[in-house]
C-alpha cells in the first residue's frame, strides 16, 4: 500500500486514515531497531575506554535508556509533540502526560500508524541522544549524578529541541519554530540528535574537566572487537532511525535506507584514507569511527540527497571528522570518546552540507546550492544548526553545573585511578584467567557496606 502520509507529521488536511499494517509493521521494527542502538552504543563506547571503566561506560547508556523512557512517558513526549504553548518553543507538557491518552485511540485519523508507537519511536531518539553525551565524560562521572542529569536534560534540552525540529504543524496542531517557521530540513535528527548531543557533551566535558592523566597517560581502547560489534549494531539500528523517520513503508523510506547505507560506506573509506595517508595505517577504530561519522552526517540529509550526493556526504564527513578528533588535544578539553569530533562536527557537516547537496528529486524536495537552489536552504540550515548548538551547549552546561554543585558530578581522583567500575559499581568487567575465581573468597549475603558512588 503506497504511503498515504507526508513526512514527518500527520497531514491534518488529509482524509481520515485507517492504520496501515505495512507502515505499522515497519514502525514497530524501526522502533526496535532504535532500541538496539542503545546496546550498540554501549559496546561502541565501552570498547573504547580502558578495561577498568567499561562497565560504567555501558551503564551510562543503560541508565540513560531507563531514565529517559520514564521521563519521556511522563512529560517529555508532551513537551515535544504537544500543541505549542507559544512561539514554537515548547509543547503543552500536560497534553499527553503519562501517555494514557494514546492507549485507546489508534490513529487520530491523520496518521497511518498508531500514535503510541510514534511516541515510543521518538522517545528512543531521546535515549540515543542522551547516551551519546556520556562519551564525553568517560571514567569519571558519579552514576547517580549522571542519572539526575539525564532526567533534567530530557525535559530541558532534548524535548524542547525535538519540538522545534520534529513537530510539524498540521490541521489545528501547531508545532515548533525550526520545522515550521524557519523551514529547517532535518530528516532524522542532525540537529536534534547529533548537534544536540555533541554540544551537550562539550558542555559536560568542560564542567567535569579532564581525566587524570589526560593527554599524558595512554588511554587506549581496551577491546576493539566490542567497538566493531557496536559499530555494526549501530549501522543496523540506524536504518530504523533514518528510514523509520519516513513514518511509512514506501519509496521514500527506501531512498532513505539507500543514502544511509551509502554514506556509512564512504564515511568509512574517507576516514581510512586520511589515516592511511597521514599515519600510514588504516585502523579498525578508524573504520568504525568513519562509519559513524558518515551515518551522523547523513542523518539530517538522508531524505534530501541522491545516491551520488550520499556518497559525497559520507566521504566528506569521514575526512572532516578524522581531523576533528585531534582538536581536543590542541584545545585541552577532554571529550573522552570524541562526541564533539564525531557527532557535533559530523552533525554540522550533514546539516549544513544539505544546504549544498540537496536535490529536489529526493524525498524532501529541496534543492541545495549545487543543485540550483541558491543559498536559501543553506541559510535555514545555518539558523537551525546554530540555534540548537547554542541552546544545547548553554542549557546542558547549566544543568551540569547545578548537578555538580548539588551532589558532585565527579568521583575522587583516587577512585578514578583505581578504576570507576570497582569503586562506583563494585564490579570488574572481566575475569578470564584459567584460575578464575581462585583468588577471592566466596559470596556473602549480609550487612552491606556503603561506599562512595
Amino acid at each position: 500500500m503506497s504511503s498515504l502520509v507526508l513526512h514527518p507529521a500527520p497531514a491534518g488536511y488529509a482524509p481520515v486514515l485507517a492504520i496501515d499494517s505495512g507502515t505499522t509493521a515497519w514502525l514497530l521494527v524501526a522502533t526496535a531497531l532504535v532500541l538496539l542502538m542503545a546496546p550498540g552504543l554501549a559496546l561502541f563506547y565501552g570498547g573504547m575506554v580502558r578495561s577498568k571503566g567499561v562497565l560504567n561506560m555501558m551503564m551510562m547508556t543503560f541508565g540513560a535508556l531507563a531514565v529517559v523512557v520514564v521521563v519521556w512517558t511522563l512529560v517529555g513526549y508532551s513537551i515535544a509533540f504537544g500543541d505549542d504553548v507559544g512561539l514554537g518553543l515548547l509543547g503543552d507538557p500536560t497534553q499527553y502526560a503519562g501517555l494514557g491518552q494514546l492507549l485507546e485511540e489508534g490513529s487520530n485519523g491523520e496518521s497511518a500508524y498508531p500514535l503510541i508507537l510514534f511516541a515510543m519511536f521518538q522517545g528512543l531518539f531521546c535515549v540515543i541522544t542522551a547516551a551519546l553525551v556520556s562519551g564525553a565524560i568517560a571514567d569519571r562521572a558519579r552514576f547517580g549524578a549522571w542519572m539526575v542529569f539525564v532526567a533534567a536534560w530530557t525535559v530541558l534540552v532534548y524535548a524542547p529541541v525535538a519540538h522545534w525540529v520534529f513537530d510539524f504543524s498540521s490541521g489545528e496542531h501547531v508545532g515548533g519554530w525550526l520545522a515550521n517557521r524557519v523551514g529547517l530540513v532535518d530528516f532524522a535528527g542532525g540537529t536534534a540528535v547529533e548537534i544536540c548531543s555533541g554540544a551537550s557533551a562539550l558542555a559536560l566535558a568542560l564542567v567535569l574537566g579532564p581525566r587524570v592523566g589526560f593527554g599524558r597517560e595512554p588511554m587506549r581502547p581496551h577491546n576493539l572487537t566490542l567497538v566493531m560489534l557496536g559499530a555494526g549494531l549501530l549501522w543496523f539500528g540506524w536504518f530504523g532511525f533514518n528510514a523509520g523517520s519516513a513514518l511509512a513503508a514506501d519509496h521514500r523510506a527506501a531512498v532513505v535506507l539507500t543514502t544511509t547505507l551509502l554514506a556509512g560506506a564512504t564515511g568509512t573509506l574517507g576516514w581510512l584514507a586520511v589515516e592511511r595517508l597521514r599515519d600510514g595505517h588504516a585502523t579498525s577504530l578508524g573504520a568504525a569511527s568513519g562509519l559513524v561519522s558518515g551515518l551522523v552526517a547523513i542523518t539530517p540529509s538522508c531524505g534530501s540527497l541522491s545516491p551520488a550526493g550520499a556518497l559525497a556526504m559520507g566521504a566528506l564527513a569521514g575526512v572532516v571528522c578524522a581531523y576533528a578528533v585531534g582538536l581536543k588535544y590542541k584545545l585541552g578539553y577532554d571529550d573522552s570518546l570524541d562526541v564533539v569530533g564525531v557527532h557535533l562536527v559530523g552533525g554540522l557537516v550533514g546539516t549544513f552540507g544539505l544546504g549544498l547537496l540537496a536535490t529536489s528529486a529526493a524525498p524532501t524536495g529541496v534543492d541545495g546550492l549545487f543543485y540550483g537552489g541558491g543559498l536559501d536552504q543553506l541559510g535555514k540550515q545555518l539558523v537551525g544548526g546554530g540555534a540548537v548548538l547554542v541552546y544545547a551547549f548553554v542549557v546542558s552546561g547549566i544543568i551540569g553545573w547545578v548537578v555538580d554543585k548539588l551532589m558532585g558530578f565527579r568521583i575522587d581522583e583516587d577512585h578514578e585511578v583505581s578504576g570507576i567500575d570497582l569503586v562506583v559499581h563494585a564490579e570488574t568487567a572481566y575475569d578470564l584467567h584459567a584460575t578464575a575465581g581462585a583468588r577471592s573468597s566466596g559470596p556473602f549475603l549480609g550487612t552491606p557496606r556503603k561506599d562512595d558512588a
Binding site: V417, A426, E427, R439, P443, F444, L445, G446, R449
Partner: protein, 112 residues
C-alpha cells in the same frame, strides 16, 4: 651479578622505568602479578552476593645488574615507586651465579 626484583603499583611503572633509565638500566623483564599484604583488596557485589577480592594488581620488575650497581638500582626503584601510601611494594635482591645473552652467548656483565 645480582637479580633485583621489585613489586610495585601499576600506575608507578612509568616513573620507575624513567628512574631506572636515568640510573643506566637498559634492560628488564616485567610481569603482571597480584599482591597480598597490608593493602587490602576490595569487595565486589554480584546480584547481592559479596565477594572479597583479597589480591591487588601489582607489577613485578626483574633486573639483572652488576654487583656495583645494586644500590643505585634499588634506590632508583624506591624513588620511582614511592607514594608513601600502603601498598607501595617491595624490592628484594638475590645472588646470581651467571647471566647469558642468548643472541650472542655473552656471559655475565657482558650479557645485561
Amino acid at each position: 651479578m645480582k637479580l633485583v626484583t621489585a613489586v610495585i603499583k601499576p600506575h608507578k611503572w612509568e616513573d620507575v622505568r624513567q628512574a631506572l633509565e636515568a640510573a643506566g638500566v637498559t634492560g628488564m623483564t616485567v610481569s603482571e602479578v597480584s599482591g597480598y599484604g597490608r593493602q587490602k583488596g576490595h569487595t565486589e557485589v554480584y546480584r547481592g552476593a559479596e565477594y572479597d577480592i583479597s589480591l591487588v594488581p601489582k607489577i613485578r620488575v626483574e633486573i639483572a645488574v652488576d654487583d656495583a650497581d645494586v644500590a643505585e638500582v634499588v634506590d632508583a626503584i624506591e624513588r620511582g615507586a614511592r607514594t608513601g601510601r600502603i601498598g607501595d611494594g617491595k624490592v628484594w635482591v638475590t645472588p646470581l651465579e651467571s647471566v647469558v645473552r642468548v643472541r650472542t652467548g655473552d656471559r655475565d656483565a657482558d650479557a645485561v
